[in-house]
């Protein structure tokens, strides 16, 4: 019993919560921005079948970040470099899903290995090392926050500019091409935005758990709606709740934030699956029923 209480108090200890909150204000702002970015880009990741690619990009991004740590340069810049290289390679070589998956499968362990090598050579604080893989909270200082928010804003603006043709090219590439949508250019532009989104996500949730931010919220939203307006909206709400909620919960115990983020995001996904499943079973597909309506007067 005592062990359980110890465990719970390690997980949730909310004395001095107010002071802690002030300390991680930057992280919460960064988390909210990440939630918006992840929630918006997620539905496209899903409909373009890039979930596995996101994982690959994040491992190379991790390699870039740990190289930056070793060399003593800006970690965000390093992780940006890694993820851009990965995204462009995947975008150029892997137009078909199977090809793409094998490229990702080859690159991912290589990136992870490189990252571990750089970290092993690094002699600084070990918390920094672990944080790149599993997430960290107190690490966001004000200039870094500016960088994260700035990059997030670029991703959101980029998505807004190409939202409609990107939707067309993602779900219906043959017809989109026939109607002069620059499908290839859009695909490369999207990979660049995805690289930016991945690089900033790593700073908060860590390389291993980026999917919880870029994939799970969108996957959950897509279980309950197919509306092109509601899907990104719900996905953003889910992602923001997961990240900000995860940061706030993790304050209690001084544990990494990622288990909290991933658990919230997974719980939301489960609920959405159940809701979607119940709706399918009740046959509420949105079809209009043909029977004539009785008008009551």
């Amino acid at each position: 019993m005592n062990e359980l209480i110890d465990l719970l108090s390690a997980l949730f200890d909310f004395s001095d919560y107010g002071e802690l909150l002030a300390l991680v204000r930057n992280s919460i702002i960064a988390g909210a921005v990440l939630g918006i970015v992840g929630g918006l880009i997620g539905p496209f990741v899903m409909s373009r079948d890039l979930a596995f690619a996101v994982h690959g990009i994040s491992e190379l991004s991790f390699a870039g970040a740990s190289a930056a740590l070793l060399l003593g340069v800006n970690v965000v810049a390093g992780s940006l470099g890694g993820s851009l290289i990965a995204a462009i390679i995947i975008g150029m070589l892997g137009s078909r899903a199977r090809e793409r998956n094998s490229i990702v499968g080859v690159m991912m362990p290589f990136g992870l290995g490189l990252g571990i090598l750089f970290l092993a050579l690094y002699e600084g604080r070990t918390a920094n090392k672990f944080g790149l893989l599993t997430g960290q909270i107190v690490s966001v200082d004000t200039p870094q926050l500016g960088l994260l928010v700035g990059i997030g804003a670029i991703v959101i603006a980029g998505l807004a500019v190409m939202w409609r043709p990107l939707t067309f090219a993602s779900v219906d590439p043959d017809v989109a091409r026939a109607r002069a949508v620059p499908v290839t250019t859009i695909s490369i532009a999207f990979m660049v935005l995805l690289a930016l989104a991945t690089a900033i996500s790593i700073q908060i949730v860590g390389a291993l758990l980026v999917l919880a931010l870029l994939v799970t919220p969108a996957a959950a939203a897509m279980r309950v709606t197919a509306s092109p307006f509601l899907t990104p909206l719900l996905s953003v709400v889910f992602a923001v709740v997961s990240v900000v909620g995860g940061i706030m919960l993790s304050l209690g115990g001084g544990l990494p934030i990622s288990p909290f983020v991933t658990s919230i995001s997974f719980a939301i996904y489960l609920v959405c699956r159940i809701v979607g499943w119940r709706r399918d079973r009740s046959g509420a597909s949105g079809r209009r029923v043909k029977t004539p309506r009785v008008v009551m007067t």
Binding site: A160, P165, F168, V175, R179, A180, G286, R287, R288
Partner: protein
């Protein structure tokens, strides 16, 4: 609708070759407004390449293709395109009406904000293809036949002068083949669009087709189905004896090499009997 002599589509000595191998050469074809032309031929004769060339995605080796008197370019908005039937994947965040809306404004940059006028137009198009009942249903949950109706709606939503159909009936059951081809036929009569319809089986559209473009063995023939689908014409094109049989309003081509042109269920039955 204009009643001038200008054809919607004009191919002049259009030739497409990959290396030394000509797929088709010196094809001359004029398609008038409201005309229904079927493109037939065995696999690998460049039927899909022909559509790509008309869409401006495939450069001709020589000759020219004009749409409404202008050389074709990439992505003309005057062309409606119905692709080979590929089912939309489960979980795609798109309702039937959204797919049709993309046909109107999917090429425009920016956020997916659709004007009220466009929404009303989309509603009308959906009603005209008989899909109002499932306009708000996720496309991925629709059956193949229903998806293909929505595809027809998407293609006609921009009021095209030319409808390009790439095997729109393949993988549909006989009933839906009839429904979808009736729909395309009805729309072209109402809107006056020309139709170029690539198919491996002419039978579902035999009663609608004005003319046939038959591609085989680097040769081509243009004419009414009665003129082109004859034993001596096809035997000449394939360079091997071919027999064309007409029975109960259907056409079957017997003896064509692998990937023959006019495929028919009748033929399978006959083959079965012969092999047994």
């Amino acid at each position: 609708m204009t009643h001038t002599a200008q054809p919607v589509l004009r191919l002049r000595a259009a030739t497409l070759a990959f290396g030394d191998r000509p797929l088709w050469s010196k094809v001359n074809l004029e398609v008038a407004a409201g005309e229904f032309v079927a493109v037939l031929g065995p696999n690998g004769t460049g039927k899909t390449s022909l559509l790509k060339a008309i869409l401006g995605q495939q450069q001709l080796s020589s000759g020219s293709i004009e749409l409404l008197g202008e050389p074709v370019r990439r992505g003309s908005r005057r062309i409606g395109y119905i692709p080979q039937q590929k089912l939309i994947e489960q979980g795609t965040p798109l309702r039937a009406r959204d797919l049709v809306t993309l046909g109107v404004n999917g090429h425009r940059w920016g956020l997916p904000i659709t004007s009220r006028a466009t929404r009303r137009h989309v509603d009308e198009v959906i009603a005209s293809v008989g899909a109002s009942e499932y306009a708000n249903v996720p496309v991925a949950t629709l059956s193949g036949g229903e998806q293909q109706r929505i595809r027809v709606g998407q293609a006609i939503a921009s009021d095209p002068a030319l409808l390009l159909c790439d095997e729109p009936l393949s993988s549909l059951d006989l009933n839906h083949q009839q429904v979808v081809s009736d729909l395309i036929d009805e729309r072209r009569r109402e809107l006056g669009s020309a139709v170029l319809f690539v198919t491996h089986d002419i039978n579902p559209i035999l009663d609608k087709v004005d003319r046939v473009l038959y591609l085989a063995g680097g040769r081509f023939r243009v004419g009414t189905p009665e003129e082109v689908l004859r034993s001596e014409v096809l035997s000449y094109m394939y360079g091997t004896p071919i027999e064309v049989i007409r029975t109960r309003g259907r056409v079957a081509v017997l003896g064509a090499p692998e990937g023959y042109g006019v495929h028919d269920h009748l033929e399978h039955h006959i083959d079965d009997r012969w092999h047994r």
